[in-house]
């Protein structure tokens, strides 16, 4: 028994085969979108299927799925955007949407050449089979096994919620410049959340593994890793203490802590904020912003990571962008609108949540290259401070560069050594100041291996990845409850 699937999704020219979206029809829609002028127009067709199964109280006893089908039509004039979408792929509905998009401008019609050339793309997430074609019977045991492993890992485990989520998204982008690109994006993860009880106290934690994976990724070893990680992350919290509040040295462990880069510099380097001069980084290109050992990338090409994309959502091929090159601020992340503004090539960062949304510059997988030190040396150099292991969420005010991220698990550092565990602490900093304060990086770059990492911007949510080696930031504001010298 299959589940909701994309019929014939392994076929090229999917939207033509399934919905009769021909080149001639696309040309007609683009002509309507440019019927009042404009610099360019594009069509974004999407057919996405998502399936989730979830376990609660010992049984996989609920399933959810969603089918999304539609086309978004955009007309662009300078930095002005007209946008409309329809869920009916009929010529009449699509023409009506195109004529709404056209209202952003009011000039002479612009001709659209036919003969769209399909882009040849690399594939950063090849699949042996579609996850939607994998029978439900094969997914159920994964989730059940995570539950059983969690309970056998510790007698303190009281409740387990576990789930498997997968999405397959088929897209077709057609532009008035004569480009056409098709992609199939998988996105999936196996997750668990545990509540444990000890001496009348309760703690919870969450963990997941996934990305743009093939189903063959989900081996018994992955099941074990999810279960062990989530249980160990929960149990240690019973011993957690509160760190002191105030400015202290912070060491970030490798992996998910890369969210620090995402908030502290990533958002501020999205070019829309810079062309509007609303980012603190808008005057800093070419300037030294960090020590020479600091190189930060935003990369679409990492195999099977959640932020990897073969092509962005306006037809620019997936690529690697150097944001900070040996301490020098090198490039913003561009979509087509900002690239035209800055007279540079787009960097493939034009992304959108779905056909219901217009494109904006967005991050993909953002990480910092490894340094020379050992992780132990970095911790030792901190003296007294805190060590961050898991981060659950973050936020930034672009204009000031002030950011925060929430530490769900970490440790105290006392006299250069890791000591008591800590939890539930917000850490704050200022992006440019924090970059200058990265004084050491270790040789252990690790990418976050979860698939559930989402980034929100202007109401749109897209999957992203992070990575970081162990780094020392010499001072950040830690939001503990004990004011030094005020309350014991």
């Amino acid at each position: 028994m299959g589940w909701y699937g994309l019929a014939g999704a392994d076929k090229p020219d999917y939207f033509n085969a399934e919905f009769g979206v021909t080149d001639a029809l696309c040309q007609k829609l683009l002509a309507e979108a440019l019927s009042k002028g404009g610099d360019f127009a594009d069509l974004y067709f999407e057919h996405a299927i998502s399936n989730s199964i979830a376990l609660e109280d010992g049984k996989v006893n609920r399933a959810y799925s969603n089918v999304a089908l539609g086309v978004g039509i955009r007309t662009v004039k300078g930095d002005q955007v007209g946008y409309a979408f329809t869920q009916e792929l009929t010529e009449k509905s699509m023409l009506a949407a195109a004529s709404v998009a056209a209202t952003i401008t009011n000039g002479q019609a612009r001709e659209v050449a036919g003969g769209f050339v399909g882009l040849k793309l690399e594939n950063y997430y090849p699949l042996e089979s579609l996850l939607t074609a994998v029978p439900l019977e094969s997914k159920l045991p994964l989730v059940q096994a995570v539950n059983d492993k969690c309970f056998s890992r510790s007698p303190l485990v009281a409740k387990v919620s576990a789930g498997f989520h997968d999405e397959q998204k088929r897209i077709l982008i057609v532009t008035s410049e004569g480009r056409k690109a098709e992609d199939l994006l998988p996105s999936n993860y196996l997750s668990a959340s545990v509540a444990a009880e000890k001496d009348g106290k309760r703690e919870t934690a969450f963990w997941n593994l996934g990305g743009r994976k093939d189903f063959s990724y989900y081996t018994p070893a992955v099941v074990d890793e999810v279960a062990n990680a989530v249980v160990d992350r929960t149990i240690i919290l019973f011993d957690a203490v509160q760190p002191p509040a105030g400015e202290i040295p912070v060491v970030l462990g490798p992996g998910v802590t890369g969210i620090l880069l995402h908030e502290a510099i990533g958002h501020g380097m999205e070019a829309d904020f810079n062309r509007k001069k609303t980012s603190t980084f808008c005057t800093m290109i070419g300037k030294q912003v960090a020590e020479p050992f600091v190189t930060i990338l935003d990369d679409a090409t990492n195999p099977n990571l959640p932020g990897s994309i073969n092509v962005d959502d306006e037809g620019t091929p997936g690529q690697k962008t150097v944001l900070v090159d040996h301490g020098i601020l090198a490039s913003y992340m561009h979509d087509k609108i900002s690239a035209r503004h800055y007279k540079v090539d787009p960097t493939g960062n034009g992304r959108r949540e779905s056909y219901q949304h217009y494109v904006m510059p967005r991050m993909r997988n953002t990480y910092m290259l490894a340094g020379q030190a050992t992780p132990e040396d970095v911790i030792k150099s901190a003296g007294n401070g805190i060590y961050v292991q898991d981060v659950s969420n973050g936020q930034v005010n672009i204009g000031e560069g002030d950011f925060a991220f929430f530490v769900s698990r970490g440790r105290m550092i006392e006299n250069g050594k890791l000591t008591a565990p800590i939890k539930d602490i917000n850490i704050m900093g200022n992006g440019p100041k924090m970059l200058r304060n990265i004084t050491m990086a270790a040789n252990d770059l690790e990418m976050y291996r979860g698939g559930a990492g989402m980034c929100g911007k202007n109401g749109q949510s897209v999957p992203v990845g992070f990575g970081l080696p162990t780094v020392l930031v010499k001072s950040m504001t830690v939001g503990g409850v004990k004011a030094q010298g005020v309350r014991g």
Binding site: N61, A63, V81, G82, A195, R202, N397, A404, F405, N426
Partner: protein, 440 residues
């Protein structure tokens, strides 16, 4: 009631039952919305959207699943629904999963909630453009030379939905919503470019503040952020501004759900009937508020809407327990989630309270942070104003407050007289004493 939508919902139930479902709940919705923003005195984005969708919850052989689609063609739906039923049968049984006993559907109030603006269809594209232009204009004027960028925005929408169950529930709801606002970025020292703004959401156009007012308030709020600094870590009274207070309250609400209690993730699970907050905290959930953004006649289970006092003078009275978790817990159900939340306002203005307190921090926004519903521990970044001798003297940023909800709400000293009117959280500014505010 929209007949076409109702007929499709009834057909979907029949289709699911013929495919082998014992019971089901179907909701069909559709909406239309328009969004216009201006920057540099020209339209930046114009967006129009029409959406429709069907979701179906299937109960078959003691098993459960929920599916949704935007493809409402009958041929597609036929396959969609029969696949849903077949797939449901592969899951494990869940004895708690049923439609509610129909006796719980009885007693739906009959009143006009006034959540549809009868003038909605009269709104023209020109009206929209004129409104956004006026907001932008007043914001730019009030911002003066400090303004780097202003984005002004208007959006409006109209939606309707039909819900039908195989055991006799039938509901229809329709509503309108208007939003308007502006964000302004201002030039500050040291490459800092703070952004501040103002936005309002209302059910009826006539309740929207004037565009000139929206723009001017947005500019003032942005200029208020200039010169922000971190001050030293200190224990101080805080006033949390009305529009930001819901963020604090969400830490309590997340621990008040049947799910979090049954799944052992609630620090309030055993606190019913006990004092969890200061005398000043009364929290009312009122789905029947006329013209409210969260108003409704029935909830997700089809239970009739009812006003409830969730917390009364600091004592926890009730939880949000839907049908499913009521069965798991062996409790009577209440309602699955909040509608309009009201904390009764006090008598004094924020200005008067500041004068009385002398020195403290007026929190106007949060940055990052989180709240743990299992333990009640919370840590939030803050921005706002330090006030001394009753007057705001210094903007603050990059600072933080951390607390446990069970302690924190006991330090609630006062509610101001300024309930926020532009969301479903009608909460006034709240005053707390002795909070550790961490900075340098």
């Amino acid at each position: 009631m929209n007949k076409e939508m109702r007929d499709l919902a009834a057909w979907s139930i029949e289709t699911a039952k013929s495919a082998g479902a014992d019971d089901c709940r179907v909701e069909i919705g559709r909406s239309r919305s328009v969004e216009i923003s201006y920057r540099e005195r020209k339209p930046e984005n114009i967006k129009e959207a029409s959406t429709r969708g069907l979701s179906i919850e299937v109960f078959a052989g003691g098993r459960y699943s929920s599916q949704s689609t935007s493809d409402l063609r009958k041929e597609s739906l036929q396959t969609f629904i029969s696949t849903a039923v077949a797939m449901t049968k592969l899951l494990a049984k869940d004895p708690y999963r049923t439609l509610p006993d129909p006796k719980y559907y009885l007693g739906r109030p009959e009143l006009d909630l006034q959540i549809v603006d009868p003038t909605y269809d009269q709104l023209t594209p020109e009206d929209r453009h004129n409104m956004v232009k006026a907001i932008e204009d007043s914001c730019l004027r009030a911002g003066g030379e400090k303004a780097v960028s202003v984005t002004a925005l208007e959006k409006d929408g109209h939606g309707e939905s039909v819900t039908l169950t195989s055991n006799g529930f039938e509901g229809y709801s329709e509503s309108t919503e208007y939003g308007a606002g502006a964000d302004m970025t201002v030039r500050d020292e040291n490459d800092r470019r703070p952004e501040g703004g103002f936005g309002a959401t209302v059910v009826a156009r006539k309740a929207m503040p004037r565009p000139e007012e929206i723009g001017a308030i947005a500019a003032k709020r942005a200029l208020d952020l200039l010169g922000a600094k971190k001050i030293k870590t200190e224990t101080l009274p805080i006033i949390v501004e009305n529009r930001s207070a819901p963020r604090l309250l969400s830490g309590l609400l997340s621990a008040m759900s049947g799910w979090s209690i049954q799944q052992k993730r609630s620090f309030l699970a055993d606190k019913k009937g006990q004092r969890i907050a200061g005398q000043r905290l009364t929290l009312i959930d009122d789905p029947l508020l006329v013209g409210g953004l969260g108003s409704r006649l029935y909830d997700g289970d089809g239970f009739p809407a009812k006003k409830r006092t969730m917390i009364e003078s600091g004592v926890l009275n009730d939880f949000y327990v839907d049908w499913y978790y009521s069965r798991k817990l062996g409790w009577e159900p209440t309602t699955g989630g909040p509608s309009n939340l009201i904390i009764p306002p006090g008598k004094r203005s924020v200005g008067e309270i500041m004068k009385d307190l002398g020195r403290g921090i007026f929190i106007t926004g949060f940055l990052g942070g989180n709240s743990n519903s299992t333990t009640g521990d919370s840590s939030l970044g803050i921005i706002g104003k330090l006030f001394e001798k009753g007057e705001p003297v210094q903007s603050v940023a990059e600072m933080n407050i951390a607390f446990n909800h069970l302690e924190f709400w006991k330090s609630l000293a006062e509610a101001a007289n300024d309930p926020w009117l532009y969301s479903s959280r009608l909460i006034p500014s709240l005053v707390f004493t002795d909070v550790v505010v961490s900075g340098v």
